[in-house]
Structure formats: C-alpha cells, structure tokens
C-alpha cells in the first residue's frame, strides 16, 4: 500500500452557508485502489465534502489534486474534464428521467466524450450487463426499482472510465431488501481495484471493506483510521460513542 501513488488529494476544504460552517478544513488523500469510508451523523458534512470534491458545491476554500495535478475549478474546460474522471453516485440516483437505462449510460459518452452512437451503445450495454441489468436496458427510470436505478447510475459513472468514484450514501434511499444488490456491485468494484470515497451508515459493510474510516461531525474530520481500531478502540470519545451506537443499530456484518 505504501508505494502506491496518490490519486486524489484534498486540502483544507471549507464550506460555509451564511454564518454556518458545514465543512471545516477537511483534508484527505486517496491512494490507488483505496476505499475510504466517511461515517458520522447526518448533517455532519459527509455529503458536502463529497460534493466539494467535484465542485458540485463550490468550496469557500480548499484545493484538490487529481494525479498530482491541481484542479482550478474556475477554468470551465478543466473542470468539465476533471468531472469526467471522477464518477459520482448519489443517494437518490439522479438518473435522467426522460431517458431509458441505456440512454442514461450512453448520453454522456456521446455528448461529453464525443463517441459515436455505436461505440457508446456497445459500451453502455456492456456496463449495464456488468451490473446485472442486461434485460432492462430499454426501461425508463420510472419503471425500475430503487436498486436497479442505483445500479444504472453506477454503470453510467463507470462508462466514463473514472479514476475515482465518490459514493454519497448509495444505499440510504433503498428498501432493506434491495441494499445488498447495490452493495454487491460496490464490492465488485472494490475487488477490481477502483479507488473510492463513500459515505454510508452501513457500518458492517464499511468495517469489512474499507481501508480507512473517516469520522466527520459538525464539518470536522474528528478522527480517521483503520476500521478495527475505529470501531473498537477509537482515540476520540465521540467517535467511540457514535461507532458503538451505529454498530448496535446496523449490526457488525452486512
């Protein structure tokens, strides 16, 4: 792990809404193939941090490097190119409602990556088959279950060949029975070496898969460390309290 190169580095990310600071000097770095999981109470800044990383939310302060190159988000072209390399998965999927599953995956390939319709289609079908949706490519989002929608959105992100994936509570909006089909896809990504940051309350899942857990509260990264240490022997009292509560609630395994 030590000699792998750093893919993504975030430094001093700060975001204020009015007088409220929702994210304060958050720094994080990700090595190739690493999975870091953000945990912490809702409203603690997990989503804001993830959205600041690809500038869907403009941070008030903070710098981001991808592959050693700093991203200047005021330069539009650079920003659009950067976002193509950072896949994002949202809690409520954000599939394009007027497009079929296939078109959802295809459209960015055609319009953003300027691939031909045929190439885009082939790639899109491939990605959808990989997440187990080969039979549903002609369906519209309104005709898919939550788990299927989230898998389409993962296929859509993967088709762009991202270097990093940001997953913002990918299973929070799902029925309990549908969670595992999405988690399976994420485990698959992990096994194949995708570099990821994910926020979740699925603590069992987090502890088994993550390289590191990052505990965020009130916009501050209070503590970060390997899952075993964070869950059983955290340095910070607040982390211990949160982890024991959430373990009780969601169980140790998934």
């Amino acid at each position: 792990m030590a000699n792998r190169k750093t893919i993504l580095r975030i430094e001093d990310m700060t975001k204020r809404y009015g007088s409220k600071t929702v994210l304060k000097d958050a720094s994080l770095s990700l090595k190739e193939g690493e999975l870091k999981i953000l945990i912490g109470p809702s409203g603690g800044g997990k989503s804001t941090l993830l959205q600041c990383v690809n500038f869907l939310v403009k941070p008030d302060k903070g710098r981001v490097w991808l592959d050693g190159e700093e991203i200047i988000h005021s330069r539009k072209k650079e920003l659009y190119a950067y976002r193509q390399k950072v896949g994002m998965i949202f809690q409520d999927f954000n599939l394009f409602d007027h497009l079929t599953a296939l078109e959802n995956v295809q459209i960015a390939l055609m319009k953003v990556k300027k691939k031909t319709r045929e190439d885009a289609r082939r790639r899109a079908v491939n990605e959808l088959e990989r997440v187990g949706l080969g039979d549903h490519i002609k369906k519209y989002p309104a005709q898919l279950s939550g788990g299927q929608k989230q898998r389409v959105s993962i296929a859509r992100a993967l088709a762009m060949d991202p270097k990093v994936m940001l997953l913002d509570e990918p299973t929070s909006a799902l029925d309990p029975e549908l969670i595992s089909e999405v988690l399976d896809v994420i485990i698959n990504l992990r096994v194949n070496g995708m570099t990821m940051i994910m926020s979740t309350h699925q603590i069992g899942f987090a502890s088994e898969l993550a390289d590191e857990l990052v505990f965020l509260e009130d916009g501050n990264i209070l503590e970060a460390g390997p899952p075993m240490k964070m869950l059983s022997d955290a340095d910070c009292a607040r982390t211990r309290e949160f982890c024991s509560k959430i373990t009780e609630l969601y169980g140790n395994s998934f």
Binding site: N54, L56, Y80, R83, F90, D97, V112, R156
Partner: protein, 224 residues
C-alpha cells in the same frame, strides 16, 4: 337561395384567400415564437445575472406593450430609422416576439420544475451548462411546458387577426372589406368566427398528438 349562391361564389373565395394569408402568418409565428421563447426562458433560469436581467426586461416589454402598438412600431415606426418591413414580415416579427414573451414564462416554470438532482447528475458527468440544458433539462421541461405553450399558440391564431391593422389583409381583413361592400356583416363574421374555431380545433388536435408522442413513463401526468 340567392344568398347561398352569393356566399358560395363571392364570399368564400375571398375569405379563403384571407385564410391562406392567415396561415402564412400563424405557422411561422408559432414556431419562431416558441423557439425564441425557449431561449428566453432558458436565459431567465440559467443565465448570468446580467443575462437574466436582459431577458426579464425583454419579457416585461413584449408582454406589457399592447400588441397593436408593437405592430405599429414594426410597420410604421421602423421606416423612421430606415428599415422597411413588408406588412407580412412586420406582422410575423410582432407576433413572434410577443408570443415568445408568453412562451418564455411557461418554459421558465417548466425549467424550474426539473429536479435539481437532474442538473447535479449531468454536471457530475462533465456536461457543460449548455449541454446540460440541451440534452437533460430542456427535453424534460419542454414536455411540461407544452400544455401552456399550446394555449399560447391557440391564442396566437386569434390575435393574428390584428395583422390587418398594418395592411396585411388576412382572414379578418378580407372579411371586413367584403362585409363593408355588401353590408352582410352578420353572415360574414359568423363564417369568419367559424373558420377561426376550425383553425384552433385543428391546432389543439395537433398539440395533443405532439403531447402524446412525447409521453414517457414517468411523465404521464403532465398530459393536459
């Protein structure tokens, strides 16, 4: 009998001539108005602060000025600065701009009703703002704006009769001429009224067909 003969061979051919002119006014104005309306509507939602102000001002003027006055300006006013428009062109310009101001309001509302998640999803994939509007939000907004925009097009059919005020002799203009020659005001204007009713019936039938053809799972309840 004599009456029917007169209507069949004197009135109808003249009115049909007028009808052709009316259609030549309505069809381009409807398309141009909708097209400009979409651009203005998009600017009012996604434009920079300055562009938003300019687009708001546009709507204020073209929705606020009486249409007849706008037509007078295009036809009688522009020659003062050396621009001469034919009655037909002046009328189409007037109708398109006025109607675009109304369209833009429906379009704006429809853009605002597109969930923010849709724009987040597009941005996260690397779409530029213009690509995002063109491929993601406009196709959704357009479906929602269509019932309102259809309303405006029906209205356009009827206010196209104002064109005769700037010497573009369309259906109403022709009717007025033969009515004043023959003093058969009631009969002739009843016929004209029926023709407008026929036109707006056809238009609303077409609009419904368009709505149907654009209907998608998840968008059903936007059908009027």
């Amino acid at each position: 009998m004599e009456e029917l003969f007169f209507i069949r061979f004197e009135v109808m051919p003249t009115l049909l001539m007028g009808l052709v002119v009316s259609i030549k006014l309505i069809v381009p104005s409807a398309f141009l108005g909708l097209f400009i309306g979409i651009i203005i509507g998009a600017l009012r939602v996604y434009g920079s602060t300055l562009l938003k102000k300019v687009a708001d001002g546009y709507v204020l003027i073209f929705r606020g000025f009486p249409l007849v006055i706008q037509l007078f300006i295009w036809y009688f006013g522009l020659p003062h600065i050396g621009i001469y428009l034919s009655p037909m062109v002046a009328a189409i310009v007037g109708f398109s701009l006025c109607s675009s101001a109304y369209h833009s309001e429906y379009v704006r509302g429809a853009f605002l009703s597109v969930k923010t998640g849709q724009t987040m999803g597009a941005k996260a994939l690397g779409f530029s703002k213009i690509q995002m509007i063109r491929f993601i939000t406009l196709p959704q907004a357009f479906r929602r704006a269509l019932p309102g925009c259809g309303n405006e097009i029906i209205y356009l059919i009827k206010y196209s009769s104002l064109a005769y005020m700037i010497t573009c002799i369309e259906l109403t203009g022709q009717g007025k001429i033969i009515a004043s020659e023959t003093f058969k005001y009631t009969e002739i204007f009843m016929i004209i009224g029926a023709i407008y009713l026929f036109l707006s019936t056809i238009a609303s039938w077409i609009l419904h067909r368009v709505e149907d053809s654009l209907r998608l799972p998840g968008f059903e309840h936007y059908k009027a």
